[in-house]
């Protein structure tokens, strides 16, 4: 009885091993690589620090204590013009490092990146989402459904309100005030993606570009822009040149 059961167990184990060996396919390792994308918050070239005083183009003094935005619909463009579409939604939060990583990128040499600042309209109308789009990330208008694409909060003595707070919650996905903007960043060096490498793309996010070019923001008048519409759209026009290329670390 005992011997019999042991024999059965051994046989079973053996058959499992055998099966595994037969069915195990040759692993196909796709020729793909990763990329880290990092955003350095700046004030016209210098690293922006939370709580430090700066001046905007209008000459108003301000500090920043929160700065985050959605980078979505990222494409990497190869030297032959072909594109890799990542199709993900990234919340770049400068309180939490400010960046994201991409994987599964076909090996090759890349020349530019196309990205959207904002969240496409379909995600604004199709109910609850998880990941970086989860409403608990506090980038979501609960009273007027839609994602806040960019959030900057801080203070300014020029702000015409009791708290001297400034708050820019920029978003809106419907015409005529859609603040979804798609931009291209050309790389000054080649970005080489390969299987065993982890290159870094370093970008700068210039806070002061939010407040100028083309619309100069004075904090006396514009201290609280926190709903979709005309004012949000003016700031969105400014953020098209907020992000710029800095370097590639191979």
């Amino acid at each position: 009885m005992k011997i019999k059961s042991i024999a059965i167990i051994v046989l079973l184990a053996f058959s499992f091993c055998k099966k595994d060996k037969i069915e195990e396919p040759e692993p196909v390792v796709p020729n793909v690589g990763n990329l880290s994308v990092n955003y350095r918050p700046t004030i016209d070239g210098n690293t922006m620090l939370f709580g430090t005083q700066y001046k905007n183009a209008h000459g108003d003094t301000f500090t920043v204590n929160l700065f985050k935005y959605y980078i979505t619909n990222v494409f990497l463009v190869k030297d032959d013009g072909s594109k890799f579409s990542e199709g993900k939604f990234h919340l770049v939060d400068h309180s939490l490092g400010g960046g994201f990583s991409m994987s599964g990128i076909p090996a090759g040499t890349y020349k530019s990146m196309i990205y959207t600042l904002g969240v496409d309209s379909s995600r604004n109308v199709s109910g609850v989402q998880d990941g970086d789009l989860a409403p608990s990330k506090a980038m979501f208008w609960d009273w007027n459904t839609g994602y806040i694409f960019l959030k900057l909060e801080g203070t300014s003595p020029q702000a015409d309100n009791g708290s001297k707070d400034i708050a820019f919650h920029i978003g809106g996905f419907t015409k005529p005030y859609s603040t979804i903007r798609t931009m291209t960043i050309n790389f000054a060096q080649d970005l080489v993606i390969a299987k065993d490498k982890n290159p870094q793309l370093k970008l700068a996010s210039n806070v002061n570009e939010l407040f100028k070019n083309p619309f100069v923001v004075d904090f006396f008048t514009y201290h609280t822009v926190t709903s979709p519409g005309l004012q949000s759209n003016l700031v969105a026009n400014n953020y098209t040149d907020m992000i710029s290329y800095e370097a590639i670390v191979p």
């Binding site: 604004n124 109308v125 199709s126 109910g127 609850v128 989402q129 998880d130 989860a134 409403p135 608990s136 990330k137 506090a138 979501f140 609960d142 009273w143 007027n144 459904t145 839609g146 519409g229 005309l230």
Partner: protein
Amino acid sequence: MKFFKYILVFTSLAFFQACKVDPKIQIISIEQLKEVQPQGWPNPIYTFSNNAIKPEVFNLGRELFYDPILSLDNSVSCGSCHQQFAAFAHAEHKFSHGINDLIGNRNAPGMFNLTWHSSFMHDGGINHIEVQPIGPIQNPIEMGETFANVLSKLQNSAKYRQLFLKAYGTEEATDTRILKSMAQFMGLMYSYNSKFDLYKRNESNVKLSADELRGYAAFQAKCGSCHTEPLFSDFKFRSNGIEFNPLLNDSGRAHITGMPQDRYKFKTPSLRNIALTGPYMHDGRFTTLQQCLDHYTDIKNLVNLDPTIPATGIPLTSQEKTDIISFLQTLTDYKFINDPKFADPNGN
């Protein structure tokens, strides 16, 4: 005999245990949770195609709906201001009170047939049933909580970890699990069994009385172009000419669109269960249906007045008003307001 005794003891123990866990939750079966499209109704806007109906998911949503854990100080639940006996409106409350007894400026509407709504709230600012609860949860004068904090409170609750496990296979609390389960509970609140519905469907030999029938005819002629059957609203935004209240200073739909032509417009409410959902209008200014009908013959605000309403008011005799009120009483769905699966699972 002895064997029989043992069985009896064991089964009763098992029952006792089952009861102890959660008596009302055990009774809901998948058969009670069917997607419904009554005959002659349009296709619903929200289907459950990305929110598979399952008793454990429905139960999770039901627990959340009735749990004050969703509010900042654990004092206010959805069910505090949406009561089943009032067709999920707030009975005898012009405005509901939120945390710290804060008072809002809009009346809590009834809740039923929500899967046919293309927008939510009186100004239609919320575009999807799944994200609707975030509005009241985060509103500082309602439940005053952040959704991130709701997430962590639920994750830290042994009860909810168990409910998430049953509904979704792991104990993890996520935004989608919370909000889809709530959408499932609220979306399955169908109301289509009023006296009027039975009459229309020729069921149980139900007949309308002479004054109810006269009221129905007058309703069709004078009210039915906005309060369209079968939902008794087309859910569009209109100004119905009620007086602007400068103290509340509520611009209505314009608050969302920013368009001056949307000022004082509010979402047309369904008149189903209307006898139960007072006080009436977006700010609860009227306590009786008679006052509502009296308003329509005495228009106070012409700004953006809906073109179907004459500036001189809708011509209605006092007899017609009385008849219409009789008719509106036939829209009460007692089966819905007494359906145990929508009641507080903890019997509060």
